[in-house]
Amino acid sequence: MLKKIIFFIIISIYISFTQNLYSNIENSDNLNRETKELNNEKIKIDPSKLIIKHIIDSHEWHLFGSGKKSIVISLPIILWDEGFKVFMSNNFNNKGNFQHKSGSYYKIFNDKIYKTNSNYNLYFTKINEPSNKKPLDISITKNVFLILFSSFLMIIIFIKLSLSYNSNNYVKYKYGILIESLILFIIKEISIPNIGLNKHEKYLPFLLTTFFFILINNLLGLLPCAPNITGNINITFVLSLMTFLITNLNGNIEYWKHIFWMPNIPIGIRFLLAPIELISIFVRPLTLCIRLFANMTAGHIIILSFICLIFIFKNILSTIIFIPFALFISLLEILVAFLQAFIFTNLSALFIGLAVKNEKKES
């Protein structure tokens, strides 16, 4: 009985909030035209721009709020333009102009920094793409900051774990048992079956690092206000580039034979299959890259779309419907985070195993 009363009170508070919102919008004929337009402009939401803004990299870290009242952490900008130029990103004024103390003028447009003359002119050749010279931009953006942070976190965790083994090989660090179970899982289920018992130790550091890097960054990207690293195709491209380099630099003669001059096949067909196999050397790591990027980006877009739907409906009761959806999708994203790290590591181990495996000798 008490639960029903509390439920009724909460529902009525929600409904009273809804009435207030509607009265503000419908009484707009009492206000004059300018404020009505101002209200209308504030109310119109462009969901695609909002969603993309939360997914891509940027020079400053936007936490809460919008417009004037937004809380923003500005990150340092480091440029190489005949000498290092370092400044904070809140030095750009409202139009994006900034004059460095060495005399060069910079303008930020669409989150890219261009070098301009003293009038801050941008010369457009294509739509939304100025043709000014861009200085080399190696600044600390949101993604770079989170990569450094998560690497630091990983270094602390794993060094502490490895130092905590006492002489009996028992783990004394409390949370080390969790991490040790993951490491043993990778060794037993991913590394040894794919690469083989005698050769897997050489590639184990790469596999473990990849797995934990992808896992920790996937999970950190699910927190609110967090940057989205593994959903950035540049970063997943570098990870798959590492796999590509390791498989092809360690391939033995059997591997290259299987690609260009495969045994047990009539000679004419070998010429036909060789270009296809050559393409597949490049395409397989590329699929690793795109799979991870697309999974993470799609997950973030779905969660952000549900939250944007609340603003489109302009009704506070819609939070009851959409927040549980967003919560469910977030839980699914945790599963996808683990799964994608596992799949990336498994396929990398598979490719490495194909490259270094010996032909089975019949005993």
């Binding site: 795109i290 990027f293 697309a294 799609a298 596992f342 799949i343």
Partner: protein, 75 residues
């Protein structure tokens, strides 16, 4: 603006088709995995691992389609 809307409409249909194909594949994998587990419950761990790997690969393929649709919309 009109031709842009046509491109966006086709891109959305393409993304839907990609998901349609992926769901077919994953459903088939799930059903055969359940048949296999019911026949031999001791091997259910290995079957589950293999099912999850196959699911992730099919989802990767479906997301290629969605990435292409996104590229078509935002260019």
């Amino acid at each position: 603006m009109n031709t842009n809307l046509i491109y966006i409409g086709f891109a959305a249909v393409g993304a839907g088709l990609a998901v349609f194909g992926a769901s077919f594949g994953i459903g088939k994998i799930g059903s055969s995995a359940m048949d296999a587990i019911s026949r031999q419950p001791e091997a259910s761990n290995k079957i589950q691992t293999a099912m999850i790997i196959a699911t992730a690969l099919i989802e990767g393929a479906a997301l290629f389609g969605i990435v292409t649709a996104l590229l078509a919309i935002f260019k």
